[in-house]
């Protein structure tokens, strides 16, 4: 049985003339220990899948099952012990007036964990920051360091599933490599399951064994990493994405 099972998920925002049908019947399943990627352009609904899964977007139709059990709405504390999310913008997702210590202690207090101090220090060590960062504020950190804090915050509850919404797209290339390596290592060490959303095919191909291409709130197709690398796609849309991600190609007709 798959760890995450999403069946015919529908998400509708607004009503009447402002109705936006963001997801139109999206299904996917992710096995335990697997890393699953979702790619698509802006507005394709890729982030909405993650947000709906963790209760940040309204589920209008379909089912979300974790470990074979349908999730409750609102999600209970046990859900967040198992599923955590890392957001795109490390500048916006940390409270500017909370120290790193407070950011990391809060989930521990909510879920009634013991040895909080030791856990905070351990979490900082694991993401490669160290204890020295404990009493700093987010503005004293660089973008890459902030994203490490966001990852530490997600990991501190020892979840099984981490939902990653464009975790590196706000970072420089060299910092992106560091954060991707960190995510890879943590998955190995802890047997985590990832669902990673990105617009960058190369990042998804590097991180995920299987992926899904989305457009206009629908699934275009599902591929394995090997199929993507072999360009074995049946859909024009995926092919266009692949061509576009290889950089600019000059129209031969315009060559002088």
């Amino acid at each position: 049985m798959a760890l995450i099972d999403i069946e015919d998920l529908e998400v509708v925002f607004g009503s009447g003339g402002r109705r936006v049908h963001a997801l139109r019947g999206v299904s996917l399943s992710v096995e335990e220990g697997e890393s699953f990627g979702i790619v698509g352009e802006s507005g394709s609904g890729k982030s909405t899948v993650l947000r709906a899964a963790c209760g940040l977007a309204p589920v209008t139709g379909g089912r979300i099952l974790i470990d074979g059990k349908q999730v409750t709405s609102p999600r209970d504390a046990a859900f967040y012990r198992r599923v955590q999310m890392v957001f795109q913008d490390p500048y916006a997702s940390l409270h500017p007036r909370h120290t790193i210590d407070r950011v990391l202690s809060e989930p521990l207090a909510i879920h009634g964990f013991d040895r909080r101090e030791a856990r905070v220090e351990q979490a900082l060590d694991e993401v490669g920051l160290g204890k020295g960062f404990r009493f700093r504020y987010p503005h004293q950190l660089s973008g890459g360091q902030r994203q490490r804090v966001a990852i530490a915050r997600a990991l501190i509850l020892e979840p099984k599933v981490i939902l990653l919404d464009e975790p590196t797209s706000a970072l420089d290339a060299s910092i992106q490599a560091e954060v991707l390596n960190l995510l890879d290592r943590l998955r190995d060490e802890r047997g985590l399951t990832y669902v990673l959303v990105s617009h960058d095919l190369a990042v998804v191909s590097h991180m995920c064994e299987r992926l899904m291409v989305m457009q206009n709130g629908q699934v275009v197709e599902q591929l394995t990493r090997e199929a993507l690398q072999a360009r074995a796609t049946t859909k024009d849309y995926t092919r266009n994405l692949l061509t576009a991600s290889e950089g600019f190609t000059r129209d031969p007709a315009l060559q002088t």
Binding site: A173, H199, A202, H206, Q229, L241, L254
Partner: protein
């Protein structure tokens, strides 16, 4: 042919509590009618370099250069009136994000025509603007002219901004991350438009970006910046022969669709690169 733009020993400093901090430290280059790429990571000074050429260094900063010459005009001590006659008419800049760079309470048409009217051509302003929107491949220019920026998608807004910058037919265009906020497929379309305009109108283009791969496929020549200095200048086609360890590191740390290097090589910064 003399170059369109010459920059020699450009330095930009901002005050701080520890005294002035130089964010651009002696950048020199020449630009003809070609596509020049400037790449670097955030904080490398690439955007400040572009802004200084247009005299848009923030007031707290101070830009100095041994030579800053555009088509024979010395820009270092240009008067505000001189700048007004140059900016928009002969040199202009496309910014990164159309959401923040267009006036939100003016229609696209009004903003476009403002540029034309300022630089002569009152009567044909409307026709010129419509033609320009068509040139950037906006299918329904009449509708876009009447639209406010929030009514357009990111790709449309970016095209409208490019139209606005090009309607006066400048000789030099500085594009600061013009496609970073766009989806990959739209990004290629916008680049194609820029590319055509450069080759048809013989414009000089400075393309500032963090995306090494994109720059190497789009530009003719590339300057790689690190900590306010140009560490390497390359032919775009010869990116794979880069010598400087920083450039090589930047290329190496990108994940590739076909590659499976794990862990990814990370960039080990060397203090010697600062010199």
């Amino acid at each position: 042919m003399s170059p369109l733009l010459s920059v020699e020993n450009l330095r930009i400093a901002f005050p701080s509590r520890q005294g002035p901090v130089e964010v651009v430290r002696g950048v020199s280059f020449e630009l003809g009618r070609e596509r020049l790429g400037i790449v670097g990571e955030s904080g490398s000074g690439k955007s400040q370099t572009g802004r200084a050429i247009l005299g848009l260094t923030p007031v707290s900063g101070k830009a100095t250069a041994d030579l800053l010459e555009f088509d024979g005009i010395d820009l270092r001590d240009a008067t505000p009136a001189k700048w007004r006659s140059l900016r928009g008419a002969r040199m202009s800049m496309v910014m990164q994000d159309p959401k923040f760079s267009l006036n939100p309470v003016m229609t696209i048409g009004k903003q476009l025509m403002e540029a034309v009217k300022l630089h002569g051509g009152k009567s044909e302003a409307r026709d010129k603007s419509l033609a320009m929107l068509e040139a950037v491949q906006i299918r329904d220019p009449e509708r876009v002219m009447a639209a406010y920026p929030h009514e357009l998608s990111g790709g449309m807004g970016q095209r409208a901004m490019i139209a606005m910058m090009l309607v006066t037919e400048p000789d030099l265009l500085i594009a600061d991350e013009p496609t970073s906020a766009l989806d990959v497929t739209v990004q290629i379309e916008v680049l194609r438009i820029l590319d055509r305009l450069v080759s048809e109108r013989g414009m000089g283009l400075i393309f500032i970006s963090h995306d090494l791969e994109l720059v190497s496929t789009f530009c003719d020549r590339v300057l790689v910046m690190y900590a306010g200095r140009v560490v390497e200048e390359l032919d775009a086609a010869k990116m794979s022969e880069a010598q400087h360890p920083y450039t090589r590191g930047l290329i190496g740390c990108l994940p590739k669709i076909n590659g499976d290097v794990r862990p990814l090589p990370v960039l080990a910064r060397d203090a010697a690169w600062l010199e």
